[in-house]
Symmetry: C2
Subunit: 345 residues, 2 copies
């Protein structure tokens, strides 16, 4: 019903002008209460709803925000992290009255071909960019400042607004926790150093070790690419050098690491402790359940939407930067369940 009614139509039916109807629809003050009622009744009866396109054309605002997930990530897309992030952003968009458009680029060509449509077409009020790489070409282009932009994850350039988890602090927490449990040959299955998250978790981990007088033996370090398979492979390499504990920089990689450990006949936590990062549901259901540094993915997504809307409203010139706190969830894999009473940290 009522797909193509216009303001004019409603006006005619209510015996007023287009302008008055517009005022009613937009809740402007100077309308006779009686007239307002009459107009609202007609709107109700006809099921009229304003044409968003026409409105946007004149107002210059569409209410649409874009979520861009760049190339190379689609392989990682199986990581539930992205599902959660999308969910958080979608939910926050709904709440804020925005419409969310999703741009998943499969490769660099698609990126190059579609990017102008995304930015220049004028449909998007703003953009959330996620999973940026070091020296991200997309980011380089966007940072020019054509359009309000928020990054999820720390970018490697200045002057851009972003939300990030406390990767550094979280990794340090994992390191000190393992050290406090009495382990000293502590290895690392790292996230790729081509990402800021990878670098931050690496640095935080090393710093945490240092706080307890430990260092990271290069033999006990192998990096993955966030995939389950890469965690499996990396752990196999590290196992050869007999660590007594390992920090795996993501839950999904930890699942893979656990698979390698099991195949090698090593028991977690009896023979080796494990702590991971993310706090996804899967970390709770693994065997054994993973001690993990939980980051608030959904909240970060929501915060990104809020920041973006503030940026769109033009409320700030300085870039917003927000680091979300993380939390160590102690489960079985670190073998410290008994010392738990004192609480982590």
């Amino acid at each position: 019903m009522a797909e193509n009614l216009t303001l004019e139509d409603i006006g005619r039916l209510a015996g007023v002008s287009r302008s008055t109807v517009s005022r009613v629809v937009n809740d402007k003050s100077n309308v006779n209460p009686e007239v307002r009622e009459r107009v609202l009744a007609v709107i109700e009866r006809t099921g009229y709803s304003p044409n968003v396109l026409a409105r946007s054309l004149v107002s210059g605002r569409t209410g649409v925000i874009g979520l861009v997930i760049p190339s190379r990530v689609h392989a990682l897309f199986e990581d539930p992290y992205f599902s959660r992030l999308i969910q958080g952003i979608s939910s926050a968009s709904n709440r804020a009255g925005n419409t969310l458009s999703l741009f998943i680029f499969q490769n660099e060509e698609e990126e190059a071909a579609l990017y102008p449509r995304v930015v220049t077409s004028g449909v998007l009020d703003g953009l959330i960019l996620t999973a940026t790489r070091m020296a991200d070409p997309l980011l380089a282009r966007m940072a020019v400042g054509e359009i309000p932009l928020v990054i999820v994850g720390r970018p490697d350039v200045e002057g851009v607004s972003y939300v990030d988890a406390d990767n550094r602090g979280g990794a340090a927490l994992a390191a000190t926790h393992l050290a406090d449990c009495g382990y000293h040959r502590i290895g690392l299955v790292g996230a790729p150093v081509s990402t800021t998250a990878g670098i931050d978790r690496l640095n935080g981990f090393v710093e945490g070790l240092a706080l307890r007088g430990l260092t990271l033996d290069p033999d006990l370090r192998a990096d993955g690419d966030f995939s389950e398979r890469s965690g499996y492979v990396a752990m196999q390499r590290i196992l050869a050098h007999q660590p007594d504990a390992v920090f795996v920089a993501s839950d999904t990689m930890a699942i893979g690491a656990l698979r390698a450990v099991r195949e090698a006949g090593v028991d977690v936590p009896d023979d080796m402790a494990l702590v991971s990062f993310d706090g996804l549901p899967s970390s709770e259901r693994s065997v054994p359940p993973l001690t993990t540094v939980k980051q608030p993915v959904t909240d970060a997504g929501a915060r990104a939407v809020e920041m973006l809307n503030e940026l769109i409203a033009g409320e700030a010139k300085d870039p917003y930067i927000e680091i979300m706190p993380v939390e160590l969830i102690v489960r079985q894999s670190c073998g410290s369940a008994r010392q738990l009473a004192a609480g982590p940290q």
Copy 2:
């Protein structure tokens, strides 16, 4: 650069009128080649790109399609199935020149509140609806036919276009395969019968058993809700009645089922065979790797986009219906690796 150039601006710079520039931009035929070159040069130089909003306002087409994931599903969202589907749909949209808008509803209220904005606002050319329940209230409203609509998954109403996997045939394939492997106490961890997929997989499974002269012992059946946890619980119930094989109606539930089996000290495939459904990457990495009925999720998403675009173009009055073929992937969990040479079915 060039955020707010108009046709008129380009025309002025190229010494022609708005209309001529429009013709060039839209590749119309009757333009002097020389003039066309000149205009194109100006466009190139200025980085002009047409305002999609204005264009849509007059043409009535926006190129935006919506993907709606209704309430109650967000809990299931951790099922990688949805990630894949979204990916497939996104990719197909990009290819087709569409923009994809994502609507994930968290609950019925949000659904009711946002639905009008989705359908009536006039921004969407069409809609893809997924994960419909039996008697889906959303679907009931949409089927009124205000907007081109394609469902992913078989809906329980007539007259709507949809793409579905061959759930029935696939489940039958699982059943006959297990029977052919020599098992006869074959159980089922079913998908919820509040979904057509659940019903179709149940019926197909029973039909497959019947083809081999078997029936489904009610004690050997328990339904889950697609979550890992529900597969775990359902399998625990079934285990008590000692099946020699079980068909689990989704990979994610199968991972949970496997967890229950392991805890019970039962070996797969030596003590019990398992076949699941979906063919997600996780099914390959489980211990043991799962024999599974693979459905082409990405392709189904792509097909949905194609169908929707045909519907939008008004090329057909009859609803499109497409059943995607499935394929039995034989791995270790069914214990038939040796008989594999002959191939399944």
